[in-house]
């Protein structure tokens, strides 16, 4: 994958981070009473960005397309819901490690089964395992069934008797989520640039060659699968914390599909792309829902268009802004430019980002 981006990437991301991070300062003046709501939306986007980023390690970096990633997202939410005391706030000090541990164990078990498969098989087996947990949770009496469960008290961050962070304060919670996102990003950036990341990169390009070179590729993939699952679970936990609610729908395959959309919209394999994708997706959704009750058509067409003309997502636009000639490389646009379709199918594919 990309290990060096043009400087503008760092600049754009830092500027965006600064804008988002300072929202509590300028939001109220600009949006008035709406700013509470916007801050809440921003928090959600930050959480979803972490979720999408975790999936990028699998999809973008290794090339394993998972359609069951919501499994870990939901698992994080449900671990929080079920482990929280009923009449008291849990402490984030032990809740966070617990969520990560549960997710790691689950990812290890599922990973051992699915990691041996590839391509379409990997897609379908991850999908099936996601659905399995979905049914398990939605029929389990202890988990509130299809109605879901409430988490009445947001976990707290305390030191001894004193409250370090008051997470019931929307701004504090926002900064906690933002902090988690930045930490997750830095971790994944470090990971993908490390020796481990280079092996994953090699697996993405040619797994057989890596095996021939003596790498136990299965082990590398399994470790990446677990890391990805743990990060997704942390995102799921934050999502459940935000609204105090966990529901089986968070585990369903539609959630997995949506996070994939964020990934493609943002640009996969870049780690920073999915962050942009999550924001873009949520903003589009908000706009479309305001436009018409038939918004799924608009969303569906947007996804189709993104796949056809923008396969490298927003990140691709930033890394290598397309000139006119570049645009024409998109097979679909090129076909639009011609009257007759080419006689043979294989237009050279737009290979995921390889430069840099």
């Amino acid at each position: 994958m990309l290990h060096r981006y043009p400087k503008r990437v760092a600049i754009i991301m830092l500027v965006l981070l600064a804008i988002v991070a300072t929202f509590p300062l300028w939001g109220p003046t600009l949006f008035g009473s709406q700013s509470d709501f916007i801050l809440e939306k921003l928090t959600l986007m930050v959480i979803l960005a972490l979720f999408a980023m975790s999936l990028d390690l699998l999809v973008g970096v290794i090339g394993l397309v998972s359609l069951g990633h919501a499994l870990f997202f939901g698992l994080g939410a449900y671990t929080l819901a079920l482990a929280s005391p009923e009449f008291d706030a849990a402490s984030l000090w032990w809740m966070l490690p617990l969520v990560m541990l549960v997710a790691a164990v689950a990812a290890l078990v599922v990973g051992l089964l699915v990691i041996r498969t590839k391509g379409i098989f990997f897609i379908m087996t991850t999908l099936a395992f996601g659905q399995m947990l979905y049914y398990l949770i939605s029929t389990a009496p202890f988990a509130g069934g299809t109605d879901g469960v409430f988490i009445m008290f947001r976990p707290s961050v305390t030191a001894g008797e004193s409250v370090l962070l008051d997470l019931d304060n929307p701004q504090t919670f926002f900064y906690l989520c933002l902090g988690m996102l930045v930490a997750g990003f830095l971790f994944l950036r470090w990971l993908t640039r490390s020796y481990f990341g280079q092996v994953l990169d090699g697996i993405h390009d040619n797994e057989h060659r890596m095996q021939a070179l003596g790498y136990a590729t299965g082990g590398y993939k399994l470790v990446a699968f677990v890391i990805s699952g743990v990060l997704a679970a942390v995102a799921g936990m934050l999502a459940a914390m935000q609204y105090g609610f966990a529901n089986p729908a968070q585990l369903g395959w539609h959630t997995s599909g949506e996070v994939l959309m964020m990934l493609i919209l943002g640009g996969m394999g870049t780690i920073f792309g999915p962050i942009l994708g999550a924001f873009a997706y949520e903003i589009l959704l908000y706009v479309y829902e305001h436009l018409t009750v038939h918004w799924p058509i608009l969303m569906g067409l947007t996804i189709i268009a993104a796949v056809l003309v923008l396969p490298r997502g927003i990140a691709g636009l930033i890394i290598a802004p397309p000139g006119k000639a570049e645009l024409m490389k998109s097979p679909w646009l090129r076909r639009l430019g011609r009257n007759r379709p080419p006689a043979d199918i294989p237009v050279k594919p737009a290979v995921p980002n390889k430069e840099g």
Binding site: G144, G145, F150
Partner: protein
Amino acid sequence: MKKIVKQAALASLAGITLVTSGMTVAAEPVKVGLMLPYSGTYTALGEAITNGLKLAIEQNGGQLGGRDVEYVQLDSEANPSKAPQNMSRLVKGDNVDFVIGPVHSGVAMGMLRVAKQSGAITIIPNAGLEAATNQLCMPNVFRTSFSMWQNSFPMGKVAYDRGHREVVTITWDYAGGKEDVAGFKEAFEEEGGEIVEEIFVPFPDTEFQSYLAQIASIAPDAVYTFFAGGGGVSFVRDYAAAGLKESIPLMGSGFLTEGNIAALDGAGEGVLTTMHYAETLDSEENQAFVSAYEDAYGVTPDTYSVQGYDTGAMLVQALDKVEGNTEDQDALIEALANVELESPRGLMSFSDSHHPIQNVYLREIRDGKHEVVDIASEQLEVPDDACKM
């Protein structure tokens, strides 16, 4: 909500008289937020409720308490995981005065979580989860529909009185189905009947053949069931096609066939259901409602339409009482709680937990219509011991 309260406080501080503040309010429309499914499986329900609600307000000159009405419609997608953020959008983003919704119980859970935090006045026009007006117990939450228990409990006595002693129950393995069957079971066993088998079908499967064979081999006196929408249609048709209807009477909560009689295609004839409404109810209010609804939308109303209509009527009555003042939330809640409706479904008022006290009718499908056989339970109040307002 908070913003409006604050504005009101500021206005009175500035020494503006009550009369003029009342007038400035009158210029601003009442904002009614609708959080209902407009896509997916429950679309028909969302549309029926919306139609009913708008009809009631239209009949009041399109106004509530002398103010114009602005609707904010939001697709809930019947997706519980998005419920809190959607609710939050209506309450904090669009600053609506009321939220009407949802259809789906899982969505209701997510909405009510936000309703609890924000204090937004929420009227549930369908979702029948017991907790909404019992365990969760919020002063700002009302329901104009039913609870699963309310519709199924009366059937227990009916089944026993009709001579059935051994009954098989079958429903989806999800919260709504379990609550419904529990209501029937409670009443039926109280009378002295026995539930010989409780079958739970994975939700939302509609492949019923194996269960029908199971029922046939048990050969109970009757079957009690809860399914809804496509599942209800499939079950009733498959039950009839398996030839079971003649030997083992089929009873169910009204949702089994509600809104879907046409799709049943004759298979539903003779099926008994209990529910808080029937389109054939022989009352002046109902006949007027049915013809007004048919004129407006070209289709016959069903229970969902009535639930929407009564939600609208409830708003009309309460806002008249407070003269369109949505700023004093306590007064508004009190006005809503004291609403009494001569509804198409009959007399309807609200319990202390803000749940409707209403008749539940025993209905039999004859010639493609829900004919009212009897009042299965008059002015039935649901248990709400967990709720102390």
